[in-house]
């Protein structure tokens, strides 16, 4: 007796072609629509419930942005902050990646430097502002120091992690094909770790933005952090928002640019490509 049977069955996948969201919007427009909706809500809420000095409307912020751009102040402060970020970021990437590779491949270096890494992980860069100001002054030196410190740590930890997790068989394969120690490092360890190193750098860039603004708010007379804190003192809340939005936008663009750069120059080093 038949207990189960399939006869002349036919099965057609339910959804065919690219998926579309329910509202019928193309996927690329969804983020734009979301931002537009937020601006609308912001406009209504701030215009209805708050005085402009507490919570300016997006239209007021837009007008303030135009004025700040026209006066040249926004561009000047942005460039000052970006220069600090990229200076410290580049330096921190170089130091962090070098130390991470050294610690990853030389056991003695790893054991000798480990206490500092474990200690430094819990010391946020901004807590070093006071000694930085004493050592390097209120100018560029102290900011460069703090951003370098921030970036170094995160890049170092990511690099070390990447080197230590290179699959053992990748190394053994090269060893049995006759690799010297230097070849093993240059042709296997380094390329196998690149993706992890770049990931650390991306995180480091984000932290650099945070660090520079904090430093500029406490001790500076230029930069986006200064623009924000100074405008607050004058109750120019709309300019405060201009500063915040500029920061977010610059960070977003910098990260996208960095990602594209990595993809262009080192796409083949991504684990799956």
């Amino acid at each position: 007796m038949t207990i189960a049977s399939v006869e002349n069955a036919r099965q057609v996948p339910v959804a065919t072609g690219p998926r579309r969201p329910r509202l019928g919007l193309p996927a690329a427009l969804v983020p734009l629509a979301s931002v537009a909706a937020l601006l609308l809500v912001w406009q209504v809420v701030s215009a209805t419930f708050f005085p402009p000095v507490l919570f300016p409307t997006p239209i007021m912020v837009g007008k303030a942005a135009v004025a700040e751009i026209a006066s040249g102040r926004l561009l000047r402060d942005s460039l000052v902050s970006l220069r600090r970020i990229f200076g410290g970021f580049a330096l921190g990437c170089a130091i962090g990646a070098s130390l991470g590779l050294l610690m990853g491949s030389v056991g003695l270096a790893r054991r000798a430097l480990d206490p500092y890494i474990q200690f430094g992980r819990f010391v946020p860069s901004i807590s070093l502002l006071s000694p930085a100001l004493i050592w390097f002054g209120i100018g560029e030196g102290s900011k460069l120091f703090l951003i370098t410190y921030t970036t170094t740590f995160i890049v170092l930890l990511n690099t070390l992690g990447a080197v230590l997790t290179v699959p053992r068989n990748k190394l053994r394969a090269a060893q049995c094909l006759g690799a010297t120690r230097w070849q093993l490092f240059r042709l296997v360890m380094l390329p196998a770790s690149l993706h992890g190193i770049f990931t650390g750098m991306r995180v480091g860039m984000g932290l650099s933005f945070t660090t520079v603004v904090a430093a500029e708010m406490i001790a500076a007379d230029t930069g986006l952090g200064y623009l924000i804190i100074n405008s607050r003192l004058w109750f120019q809340t709309d300019v405060v928002f201009v500063g915040i939005i500029t920061l977010g936008t610059l960070g977003y663009l910098a990260d996208k640019a960095f990602q594209m750069l990595i993809h262009r120059l080192a796409g083949r080093y991504a684990p799956t490509h």
Partner: protein, 236 residues
């Protein structure tokens, strides 16, 4: 592993068979020079093995030993690159091995673009390219589907016959050992594993699984393996 002794002849295809966890891979690691014995000696061609060397290349289990940032051809010629062979010469050689393992025309692809079977072929070509007289293979086909595995077994026999290398092939698959080997070394179950028996395989090639002699040998080996598995189970 304790008191394990094993001799492999020049030019033979030797299969090391045993229940999982018995230390087959450890034997390979000792011969490859990846690990050192705590007692006893390991030697190849009369010389003690202390480090990995180009005369003993390894085909690993799984595909994480391939270099994902290099194309198939660049993976294959890696050993030549390490030896300082210039690009033009090594391209010609690697192309030849690419064709030997049946991947002609796929050389520009990255490992992520290749199937499991193709990746193992790249590994085999990479291990062959240095002309090493000894090939150590650690369950290279274990993760493949039955069809691909059978094809690669036939191809390995072809390559072995063409190139005359000595092959140590580790497997836990009895039929695979019978298809491939001149001799099968059967290990006891761990701990303290050693060789239980060396079984010569005199069947003519190509060997067919339907052949009664194949079946009889299979039964004999399967009995010994299940005995080992039972003994291991009784201890556990």
């Amino acid at each position: 592993m304790r008191g394990l002794s094993l001799e492999i002849e020049r030019g033979e295809l030797f299969c090391l068979l045993g229940p999982s966890g018995c230390g087959k891979t450890t034997v390979l690691n000792l011969l490859a020079g990846f690990e050192a014995p705590t007692a006893g000696t390991v030697s190849v061609d009369g010389r003690p093995v202390t480090t990995p060397g180009v005369e003993r290349t390894v085909v690993f289990q799984g595909d994480d030993s391939l270099y994902t940032w290099l194309t198939a051809v660049e993976n294959i010629e890696f050993g030549l690159r390490l030896a300082g062979v210039e690009v033009g010469t090594r391209r010609v050689t690697s192309q030849r091995y690419l064709e030997l393992v049946g991947l002609g025309g796929q050389g520009h692809k990255y490992p992520s673009q290749l199937s499991g079977g193709m990746k193992q072929r790249i590994q085999i070509a990479r291990a062959l390219v240095c002309e090493s007289p000894i090939l150590l293979m650690d369950e290279p086909f274990a993760a493949l589907d039955a069809q691909t595995r059978a094809t690669l077994q036939d191809e390995l026999i072809g390559i072995w016959q063409q190139t005359g290398r000595t092959v140590l092939f580790i497997t836990h698959d009895i039929a695979e050992a019978i298809v491939l080997a001149n001799r099968i070394g059967l290990m006891t179950a761990g701990p303290a594993a050693h060789m239980r028996a060396i079984v010569p395989v005199d069947l003519p090639r190509p060997r067919r699984r339907g052949d009664p002699a194949f079946g009889a040998l299979y039964e004999r080996l399967a009995d010994m393996v299940s005995e080992e598995v039972r003994r291991a189970g009784a201890r556990a």
